[in-house]
């Protein structure tokens, strides 16, 4: 019996680690997008995007003042949805 429980505990620990690794991957991808739209398109890459015009100015200006905020919103809701799904896949959701 004791062997059985310790095996269960080991399996749980292993799945917890897999869950955590998957979570960290999702976070990294999200943060890359987060940085590209704000620091990238909004500031550093703005000169490269200056050829694309948006309402009297260029795409970089739009990203700096509106676009990045909209992408941030999308990212947070994506993460919440994806993680709640991941919780169930690994069986670590709350009761």
């Amino acid at each position: 019996m004791t062997d059985h429980t310790s095996q269960d505990a080991k399996a749980a620990e292993k799945s917890d680690q897999g869950y955590w690794a998957a979570n960290v991957r999702i976070i990294l991808v999200s943060l890359v997008i987060w940085a590209v739209v704000s620091f990238g398109f909004g500031i550093l890459l703005r000169p490269m995007l200056s050829g694309i015009s948006v309402g009297g100015t260029d795409l970089g200006f739009w990203f700096a003042q509106q676009g990045s905020i909209i992408v941030f919103l999308g990212l947070i809701f994506f993460y919440a949805w994806r993680m709640n799904k991941l919780d169930r896949e690994y069986g670590v959701e709350e009761e």
Binding site: I43, A80, N84
Partner: protein, 594 residues
């Protein structure tokens, strides 16, 4: 009814509403005082977080800073929203799983050290107090205008109101009150913006109007604005003029700081489940984005309106005359704002005209002299913090809109000031006194010490708010730098790494210390004017301004913490288990008080 009475009516009615709710939902126990018994729905919580978050800096100050600088101040927009991504991904769900009431409790337990907890409390108090100074600046502007008194008198009256208000209830009262405040403030911000957007572009959505066509000229609004401001010698609105490196650091500081501010993080302790903490951050940003997507439109449109009022015949025609300002109804706002001492004009060359242009630009000065308007700018003072509040008057909107904006500006400043005072008081009474100095203190004693802490914090903030280190949003940016350099790295390392107690303490002290030093060197010691050795125009390190230093401070914090941790004993087994358990949602129960 005159404008003064209408303003009082709107402000009075909104206050009666908040106080009514606060009394109705009065906090009874300490757990209700701090965390509202965790019965708050994610959408409600998101709305309250938004009200808590959007302060005088967002409401009163930010659009003004954008209006007079243009693209370069986009950092405020990206920084104060981008931080929610960090909060949602890196902190909120894990802190909720941990299940205690305050940020410093997490740091104290995770780093198994009462010292870490005390250091965290100090970091929280320093950042929050700086933040309250910024709020008080905004409160002073708002009360000064609506009671038609000087800025200083307005500030003192405001301080009394904020204190009375914050002392009434804890988080529970505050949560529901803040929902009401959110509704008032978002209406107050968007309704005038819709009116103005319709006037200028014919588009009822300000965020779309900003990128639409200017109805009067038929060219895009932003092109018109670029043209008109550059004719007066100012920088083109949409162009990039600021130092790029500093702009990146500043944006990053605001983002990291957002995720390190106690009064925002505390919000995520009040949702029922870990999954809700993730959604809550998203909902908060939805409600925040409603204002943040409108703000750049408010800034650009107000700048255009002001410039056109100063040059009613176009920039090549005659500037506005002194008689027009005195007699015509659409210039009434100038006289009312002059009373606060935050707006000023002077006919320096005695030609009966007020010429507004950039007097530092030699070509423009030559042009103005040739046209006979003199060599000096005659719109001598335009405090950035008055723009949003004056905006409906500038655009000649109906008086009820002006009254509504008054109520909204005060709601923004009050809700944040109250949230911060709550964070400060819980840090002092719960973490410092109950957690370290006197663990046997009674519940009553704890509540009393919480209220004393509030009173001290507001007195200090008011005193420093009389001579603020900058416009409201700039002072608040300093607070973000401090939070970024101290709290955020400690929380993140607590969840994602196995950094030990010594590392965390050394990191927090190094991050806070170096950032505080950099700020004091540029803004004066303890923000006392005249005691600074450098200015932000010519900073100590390269182009890094004191408002941007938080990101550097955070890097210092991480580096020191990792180095110290590497050369001292690893974390004990039970803490390793704590870290593992915080990482998975399973088994998140009710939060417990020790």
């Amino acid at each position: 009814m005159d404008q003064f009475t209408i303003n009082l009516l709107f402000v009075g009615a909104s206050f009666a509403l908040y106080i009514g709710i606060a009394i109705w939902a009065r906090a009874g126990s300490t757990s209700e005082f701090y965390a509202a018994g965790r019965g708050v729905h994610p959408v409600t919580n998101g709305m309250a977080t938004a009200a808590d978050w959007m302060s005088a800096a967002s409401f009163i100050s930010m659009a003004g800073l954008i209006a007079f600088t243009g693209y370069d101040n986009s950092s405020f927009l990206m920084g104060w929203t981008g931080g929610y991504v960090l909060l949602a991904l890196l902190l909120a769900p894990y802190l909720r799983k941990f299940g205690k009431f305050t940020v410093s409790e997490f740091i104290g337990d995770r780093f198994y050290s009462p010292t870490a907890r005390v250091v965290a409390v100090i970091c929280l108090i320093v950042a929050s107090t700086t933040y309250v100074i910024g709020q008080m600046t905004g409160v002073g502007v708002a009360f000064g205008r609506f009671l038609e008194v000087s800025n200083t008198t307005g500030l003192l009256i405001g301080a009394c109101v904020v204190f009375a208000y914050a002392v009434f209830g804890g988080m529970k009262g505050v949560t529901y009150t803040q929902v009401a405040q959110y509704v008032v403030l978002i209406m107050a911000y968007t309704i005038p913006a819709i009116f103005i957007s319709l006037q200028l572009t014919g588009n009822p959505v300000p965020a779309l109007g900003l990128f639409g066509d200017h109805a009067a000229s038929g060219t895009p609004l932003l092109t018109t604005l670029d043209q008109i401001v550059s004719e007066l010698g100012f920088n083109e609105y949409t162009a990039h003029h600021a130092d790029t490196f500093n702009m990146v650091l500043f944006t990053l500081s605001l983002m990291i700081g957002t995720a390190g501010l106690p009064h925002v993080i505390m919000r995520f302790f009040t949702v029922p489940k870990v999954a809700d903490a993730r959604w809550s951050a998203g909902w908060a940003l939805v409600f925040i984005a409603l204002l943040y997507l409108t703000a750049p439109a408010v800034g650009a449109m107000a700048r255009l309106n002001i410039t056109e009022l100063m040059w009613p015949n176009g920039t090549s025609g005659d500037p506005v005359s002194v008689e027009m300002i005195e007699d015509e109804a659409q210039y009434d706002w100038m006289a009312t704002w002059q009373k606060t001492g935050l707006l000023g004009w002077e006919d320096k060359n005695g030609d009966g005209k007020i010429a507004y242009f950039n007097e530092k630009d030699a070509d423009t000065v030559a042009k103005m002299e040739a046209a006979g308007w003199g060599s000096e700018n005659e719109l001598t003072k335009f405090n950035r913090d008055i723009l949003v509040l004056a905006n409906p008057e500038i655009a000649n909107l109906p008086s009820w809109v002006i009254g509504l904006v008054a109520a909204g500006g005060l709601a923004a400043a009050l809700s944040t000031a109250a949230g911060l005072l709550l964070a400060i008081s819980s840090a002092v009474s719960h973490d410092l006194i109950k957690g370290s100095i006197n663990p046997n203190i009674s519940e009553k004693g704890e509540l009393l010490s919480a209220r004393i802490a509030m009173a001290v914090a507001i007195a200090v903030a008011t005193w420093l708010g009389l001579n603020p280190p900058g416009f409201a949003a700039q002072t608040v940016a300093l607070a973000f730098g401090l939070a970024a350099a101290s709290i955020f790295p400690a929380l993140m390392m607590g969840i994602f790494t196995k950094v030990n107690n010594k590392g965390a303490v050394a990191g927090m002290l190094a991050g806070l210390g170096i950032t505080l030093l950099y700020i004091f060197l540029h803004k004066g010691w303890f923000f006392v004017p005249g005691t600074n050795s450098f200015t932000d125009a010519d900073p100590l390190l390269g182009t890094i301004k004191s408002t941007s230093f938080g990101a550097v401070g955070a890097m210092v914090n991480f580096c020191v913490a990792f180095t110290v941790s590497k050369f001292s004993a690893p974390i004990p087994k039970e803490i390793e288990e704590l870290v593992e358990s915080v990482r998975v949602p399973r088994g998140a129960g009710e939060a417990v008080d020790h």
